[in-house]
């Protein structure tokens, strides 16, 4: 199945965006993001700490709805999902 990962702001600069990737059924949001982020150590370090946990400021969305970083490890993706990963917002 195919899911889309969208990084924004600094994360986008480090990791790219609109990344379509094939994943196995049952893949969790956290492992999906890690698999993409590992392609750039700086990008990985921007999102995850040395223990592999999300930095507390990271914001996640699944199909436009926020999901708590604490729940991302037990939230499975399904075909067609769009996962967004971004730092704190700074509009206005």
């Amino acid at each position: 199945m195919t899911v889309k990962i969208r990084f924004f702001a600094r994360f986008r600069e480090l990791l790219g965006t609109d990344i379509l990737t094939e994943v196995a059924a049952g893949t969790m949001v956290t492992s999906l993001i890690k698999s993409i982020a590992k392609k750039n150590p700086e990008g990985y370090a921007a999102i995850f700490d040395e223990n592999g946990a999300f930095h507390e400021f990271v914001i996640l969305m699944k199909n436009g709805k926020r999901i708590d970083i604490a729940d991302a490890g037990k939230t499975a993706v399904v075909d067609g999902d769009e996962i967004a990963v971004f730092p704190p917002v700074a509009g206005g």
Binding site: R12, E56, F57, A84, P87, P88, A90, G91, G92
Partner: protein
Amino acid sequence: MIAIQTNDVDIGALIAAAKKHGTGAIVVFDGIVRDDNITEMELEAYEDVAIQELEKIARDARELFGLLHVDIVHRIGKLTIGENILIIIVAAGHRKEAYDGSRYIIEAIKSGVPIWKKELTKEGGRWVPGEHRHGKQKTG
């Protein structure tokens, strides 16, 4: 008008269109690129989500403050010093509702709508640190 766009907007025309029956006060918020030793500012949005959130903020503000009209136009792309970034126009029967509604909208945008700013300088660029609710550390 609720929009995320690269182009500037005619604020005078928006004010004229905001004067609905019963209007006694219009408050205009115009956020501008400030000269903080930068050359330009670059703005980026998660557009699909940001526009939905702006629409919800406008609906909530109308209900909470009894506003008669709300416009929110947030610009993205590269902007130079002095250019408009964000225009909020609210119309209400009285000044208190208009001021309170305008303040509610700008604070809601700053705390939750997925938009980011990068200040471009002669030396490079720096992301403006965002606000976040679940911790003390800031990053951008």
